[in-house]
């Protein structure tokens, strides 16, 4: 049992804060999505529940909690219950290695600065990738254990899509690692501090614009969001992997989806947009800049969903394998050549 120091208490508090912040982020995403969709469609969206409809997500959660929890008789009980747990657990754990702020002493309460990152692993980027790979199992098992044709097909399609786009995701990640020269997210973010010519921030998006686009596209496909949400839209056409789920299990799948979106945006912010570095604010308040950048990316996510028509499944897979993967390989090669030639 380690000694109870203020740092240990601060770490435990940090874990709790991150967990609850993710839950709140999912709730906030529900509200942002609905209001933004409404604005894009020139209607008002939820404005009645609480001020400007801010309590709408909480009303939705309460409604979902009161719904009946169903399980089809022929469904495999253990796996049926396990699948949403796997999805949600992977979504939450991926955020454990994402740094969201510089060192902070919590306004002088601590004697030494504490990093705003739950676990500073020096292979952080790979850990995120590993946990994203494990998230596929939640969907596959949900589809299979529901014991219904449509669920199975939806689950298999969705997981095939996720593993196909993981390749381009990884290659775009590898290109950034070449530029950032480290696997630790904190080091990569700290490599983006400072400015060129006092004006242009040294963010990696300037050096790797194509990599950023590939990363965001693959990230959208990984999280099954529009325009790559055919497995989800199958509900309108046929059915998806979460057909047989109701109440909190269903809520867990959507929680997992929103938190995956937040994680992809947070990782993209750390890798390409300079993390928590920004003008005017001191390092210890950098998490405000981080939040603003993540919100900007989430805005793009929602905007894309309600603007672009969705890809058909074969178009989606063809795009992933025949377009995005070769482009990401070429990006990696050009980046490697550039790093070799220019020195860093």
């Amino acid at each position: 049992m380690p000694p109870i120091t203020p740092l240990l208490i601060a770490q435990v508090v940090l874990i709790l804060v991150v967990f609850h912040a993710l839950l709140l982020a999912a709730a906030a995403m529900v509200w942002i999505e609905r209001r933004l969709a409404a604005a894009l469609q020139q209607r008002s969206g939820p404005i009645r529940v609480g001020w400007q409809g801010l309590l709408q997500p909480f009303a939705d959660v309460i409604k979902l909690m009161f719904k009946e929890e169903l399980r089809p008789k022929a469904a495999d009980a253990i796996l049926f219950g396990l699948a949403p747990i796997i999805s949600a657990a992977c979504a939450f754990s991926a955020f454990a290695v994402v740094p969201f702020g510089g060192g902070t002493t919590l306004f002088g309460l601590l004697s030494e600065p504490m990093k705003l990152q739950v676990a500073d692993v020096n292979v952080a980027v790979l850990v995120i990738f590993a946990i994203a790979s494990m998230g596929v199992y939640g969907i596959v098992l949900a589809g299979w254990s529901s014991n219904s044709k449509y669920s199975l097909l939806g689950g298999l399609r969705s997981s095939a899509q996720m593993i196909s786009y993981e390749l381009s995701y990884g290659m775009a990640l590898a290109s950034v690692l070449l530029v950032g020269n480290s696997l630790s997210l904190t080091d990569i973010v700290n490599g983006q501090s400072g400015y060129w010519f006092h004006v242009i921030p040294k963010w990696f998006i300037v050096v790797q614009p194509l990599g950023f686009l590939i990363f965001m596209t693959a990230g959208v496909a990984e999280t099954n969001r529009a325009p790559f949400d055919f497995p989800e839209a199958e509900q309108e056409l046929v059915a998806g992997y979460h057909t047989e789920y109701s109440s909190m299990s269903f809520a867990m799948f959507f929680l997992a989806e929103y938190i995956n979106m937040v994680t992809v945006s947070a990782v993209a912010t750390d890798l390409f947009l300079g993390g928590w570095h920004g003008p005017l604010l001191p390092e210890s308040l950098g998490w405000i800049w981080f939040l603003l950048k993540v919100l900007a990316l989430l805005f793009f996510y929602v905007w894309m969903r309600w603007t672009l028509p969705r890809y058909r499944y074969d178009q989606l897979m063809a795009f992933g394998w025949k377009v995005l993967l070769p482009v990401s390989v070429v990006n990696l090669l050009v980046t490697a050549a550039g790093v070799l030639y220019f020195g860093a």
Partner: protein, 170 residues
């Protein structure tokens, strides 16, 4: 030390259950759990890169493939044609051979475990730990096996594509 027992225990129990229980989907999932425990053991051995790569490649990609195949081929529950009450060593034919082989392997395993104390303990000097060192040795000292492995994977991929290809219509 307790973590070693925890991860080791999970790995052993999960691996035994892979072959001991009947539902093939559960077997795949228990194998994934076993790989997760192995990954934990790698972390305890101060090799975080190998641990994460194990999850990404083995548990995350190869086992998804296994799972797809098992699901799509609709593998049935294991049922033997033989009476469960008859001891495996007394069943005729391949069952008896399999049981004898299993006993031989267990004896060999026990022998190897009792000899474990006399083996070389710590890692040799110059052990490759950090990612930078792994990359360096992979591209200099072990470059040939690296390239051959990638060729092997390419052969497997091309083979899979050819085998799955439909006949061109005349």
């Amino acid at each position: 030390m307790t973590f070693f027992y925890l991860f080791g225990g999970i790995a052993v129990i999960a691996s035994l259950l892979v072959i001991a229980q009947r539902n093939p989907i559960y077997s795949v999932l228990l194998l994934i759990a076993s790989f997760g425990a192995l990954s934990g053991l790698y972390v305890l051995l101060d090799a975080p890169f190998v641990a994460v790569t194990q999850i990404i490649v083995y548990a995350g990609a190869i086992m998804v493939l296994f799972l797809f195949v098992v699901m799509l081929l609709n593998a049935p529950h294991e049922d033997t044609e033989h009476d469960e009450r008859v001891h495996p060593l007394r069943r005729p034919g391949p069952m008896r051979f399999g049981a004898v082989l299993a006993i031989a392997l267990v004896v060999e395993l026990l022998w190897a475990l009792t000899r474990a104390g006399s083996a070389a303990g710590a890692f040799p000097e110059g052990a490759v730990i950090s990612v930078r060192a792994i990359g360096k040795s992979l591209f200099t000292e072990y470059a040939f096996p690296f390239e051959v492995t990638s060729l092997l994977i390419l052969v497997a991929m091309v083979g899979a594509v050819i085998l799955a290809k439909r006949e061109a219509r005349p």
